[in-house]
Symmetry: C2
Subunit: 203 residues, 2 copies
């Protein structure tokens, strides 16, 4: 299922380029930079990829391959709605919470992606997860809320927590445990499930 015909060197190139693209963006990375990281010259890159754009697209494809296979077991392992919500949150955190590279790539693509690259992300990640979690989200929306918006809100809560972390860490009240993925998951789950309504839950 994985990227089929890459030689060993090609894989090394892809894996070397990903942290660079994630950190500095497409325009911020030179072919020479990638070559140097691999330990070859820039000219040699063209034996494996026809140009910079192709290399970048292949790297994206490689990075986002096979990220969603575990979703089904993940979601069916819980028996109640709250448990399934927690599983869905845990799933997003597993994909985007820990992996800085994947998250940065996504963030940059949300600004820069053309139609082809958006379609790649859609097919590799978001559509499978959307379909895999459709029942759960619909159940949670329970007719009183737009399921599509809810799906995006759950994803957004997870993503934004990590993407805003440079600012978050400078705000008053920032604490080390705010980087702990388990606690973040619990916080998001509680917020989404119980909401802020004070009725019956006043301290």
């Amino acid at each position: 299922m994985n990227s089929p015909g890459y030689s060993k060197t090609a894989v090394k190139i892809l894996e070397a380029s990903l942290p660079l693209f994630a950190a500095r963006g497409y325009n911020g990375v030179a072919m020479r930079d990638i070559a140097q990281t691999v330990g070859i010259t820039a000219a040699a890159l063209y034996n494996h990829f026809s140009g910079k754009e192709t290399l970048y697209f292949s790297a994206l494809e490689y990075a986002f391959a096979d990220k969603v296979s575990s979703l089904h077991e993940e979601l069916s392992a819980a028996s109640d709605p709250e448990g399934r919500l927690r599983r869905l949150i845990a799933f997003w955190i597993e994909i985007f919470g820990g992996d800085v590279i994947l998250r940065s790539l996504l963030q940059r693509e949300m600004s820069d992606a053309d139609e082809q690259r958006l379609r790649l992300l859609l097919d590799r990640v978001f559509l499978p997860v959307y379909e895999g979690s459709g029942v759960v989200v619909t159940e949670l929306a329970a007719g009183r809320m737009d399921a599509h918006l809810l799906f995006v809100a759950i994803l957004g809560l997870v993503l934004s927590h990590f993407q805003l972390s440079p600012i978050r860490k400078l705000l008053p009240g920032s604490r080390p445990e705010h980087d702990d993925v388990e606690r973040v998951a619990a916080h998001i789950a509680q917020l989404l499930y119980y909401g802020l309504e004070p009725v019956g839950r006043q301290s």
Copy 2:
């Protein structure tokens, strides 16, 4: 209070550069591009800004100036917690929902900002809003939740809705009214305030 000593041409340069930086990023914009948009040559830019980095920083400073002045009236105009939550959401949407440029700049800065530029955003936007909404958020958190995390979650829900819109529009269930800021505000408010718990609200 606004950027003090800019000449008319300097302001024209800043305003011309902002849409370009927002759309293509720092590395994606050439001094020639900015100059052309203004209607002068690239060399003339250096009479107003000492270099590209200075111009970019000044443009950021200019874009994010005086964005938070209306917060206090905004929040004190509501008398109940839910109303104040709605006001806070409306405030974020007012800043980041409508203004594509401001939102893109912030999104790019979250990936690329150095310490100085982060500090700029912090001082100009996030710290004032944090302090201005501190009481409201603390009241909403009501002891059962981390107020700092809640503040970030509210901001994140608004931001991510718009930032994910390229993907969102390609997902099933996308509808035109999902771009309507009023409806988005209502959705986020309902989600945050009432949560997803089915008790007593089953259809």
